[in-house]
Point group: C2
Chain length 206, copies 2
DNA sequence: GCGCCAAGTTAACGCTGTCAACTTTTTGTG
DNA sequence: CACAAAAAGTTGACAGCGTTAACTTGGCGC
């Protein structure tokens, strides 16, 4: 008897996807750490401890899939929140705020994303592509700013790395509770201060 | 027969210090990850697997001691490299460069520092104090800059958080190989660009 | 209808952090 | 100076982990 959803599935009905979802659910529930164990993921899905190895080479491969999903969601959040403001500087700042907001909203997922993502190994090319797309939002805003003469000249990718450093560092300091801020309003005003200051520093000296 | 150094030691001769040193040595050797195991630390020192528990409550407590040592060394590096330039803006930028340089020189130690440090729990007060002293270097430079009217007004701690975010994020992206940079000279020019841009953004609008 | 191979299971290995119970050494005090 | 108490270190065990080998099951292509 075929399952209701008889797509690519064999026995279970798309394990792999189910494993990613379960891992993400565990990560989301206990935002404390990345102490998610492969065996617990399997338990939650209802398969044996070794079943995941038919879909992922090892634990890192599963986490890489979770990370890729995270970068896709980050891209979506950036695109939605950055909007279509005609001012590239406003877009750049908005993308920075949206970036940190995403990290605050999904701290454990954000940690997995950046504990897995590496640029060197070319095997995880789909993960790299997903991360690159999210990063491109900032590059595009900076290029547009340079095109209208609002942002200082220079390699836009390099300037985007600077921007990324700021929001990445701020996001990590906040979600790892390394700044004495608990009130979300305080966090957001700090994010605003940070992104405003950086955008100012990237502007073309008049 | 007392040991050569019969200070506070009982049996071994200052285990605890030896454990911290061994842990730091392991971390330094394999800069790959924080996969340092308590048992391997004990093995290297030549004691049994349970001996560390007479000196540290658990593995995290040992890593916290390693982290504290790291923050002290970071403070030292910041003080040395920041120098005594009369221009607070130059000092601020120099401290940022020194910060990232430290992280690049000691990547695994830097990771342990920030995977252990949390502001909330008041029990690790010595760790917090060490981190606070390093952070104070940036706060002082910013306060000095405000005093001579070179830096925009505002809570200097908040402005220092912005600075810290930038250098922390840049340091992590670099040491975790999340930027496509391998040449150290390329890294350093990016660090310069980043710190220059931020300092510019923090300056008082004239 | 049937064989084959993907998908899933069981059992085991070596590793880990941690604890309880025990032994050894040092030290403070009557 | 003796000796008890406490500090420091050891052994052995437990549960959990990632991973692999050997096995079983079940659905699809011929």
């Amino acid at each position: 008897m075929p399952k209701a959803r008889s797509r690519v599935t064999y026995h279970h009905g798309d394990l792999g996807k189910a494993l990613i979802d379960a891992a993400l659910a565990i990560i989301t529930e206990e935002q404390d750490a990345a102490n998610v164990s492969l065996r617990e993921v399997a338990r939650r899905v209802g398969v044996s401890q070794a079943a995941p190895y038919r879909h992922f080479a090892d634990k890192d491969a599963l986490l890489a899939a979770v990370a890729e999903e995270g970068f896709q969601r980050l891209l979506n959040a950036l695109q939605v929140d950055t909007g279509s403001d005609p001012d590239p500087l406003a877009r750049l700042q908005a993308s920075g705020v949206a970036y940190v907001k995403f990290a605050i909203a999904h701290p454990a997922h954000y940690r997995v994303m950046f504990s897995t993502f590496r640029v060197d190994q070319e095997n995880n090319s789909s993960l790299n592509a997903a991360a690159g797309k999210a990063f491109a939002v900032m590059v595009d805003a900076i290029s547009a700013g340079q095109a209208i003469g609002a942002i200082q000249p220079g390699n836009p990718r390099q300037l985007a790395w600077v921007t990324w450093s700021l929001v990445h560092g701020l996001a990590l300091l906040l979600i790892d509770r390394q700044l004495p801020l608990v009130d979300e309003q305080d966090m957001l005003s700090l994010v605003t201060l940070a992104t405003q200051s950086l955008v100012r520093g990237l502007q073309k000296p008049s």
